[in-house]
């Protein structure tokens, strides 16, 4: 049986589970944006430079 966690519990870092998940959501979103820009940059590098040619 899965243990029900207390949503109001403040963890040692001073955050609740909801706050932790909010931070994580923003971090994941930032990583996805960074990844998208990096993929775009590598695509341009492949097209306009002698890389892999």
């Amino acid at each position: 049986m899965k243990e029900q966690s207390d949503p109001n519990k403040v963890w040692p870092t001073g955050l609740t589970e909801a706050e932790s998940e909010e931070i994580h959501r923003h971090l994941i979103q930032g990583t996805q944006i960074f990844g998208f820009i990096a993929v775009l940059a590598h695509l341009f590098a492949y097209i306009y430079s002698p890389w892999l040619k």
Binding site: P12, T13, L15, S20, I23, H24, I28, S49, P50, K53
Partner: protein, 80 residues
């Protein structure tokens, strides 16, 4: 969300700078290594076009020292 509760046990003021600096340092290291190992990349960044950057100069060959030539001097030539 997977690993969403991570920040309950890792302080965000420690974990986030650690994560961002790991990304920055590793990507910088990869590109620095490429700059030092791919000869065309330095040429390309120095302003050579895509075709010119691929032309890699051969390693410099040391010039051979001038050879000593033995020539008959005017004095020896006159002697019988």
């Amino acid at each position: 969300m997977i690993y969403g509760k991570l920040w309950c046990v890792v302080k965000p003021s420690v974990g986030i700078p650690l994560f961002l600096s790991a990304v920055a340092i590793s990507s910088f290291a990869v590109h620095l290594t490429l700059l030092n190992t791919a000869p065309w990349l330095r040429n390309f960044y120095a302003g050579a076009g895509p075709k010119a950057a691929m032309v890699v100069e051969p390693p410099a060959v040391a010039a051979a020292p001038p050879q000593a030539t033995v020539t008959a001097s005017a004095d020896t030539a006159k002697k019988p």
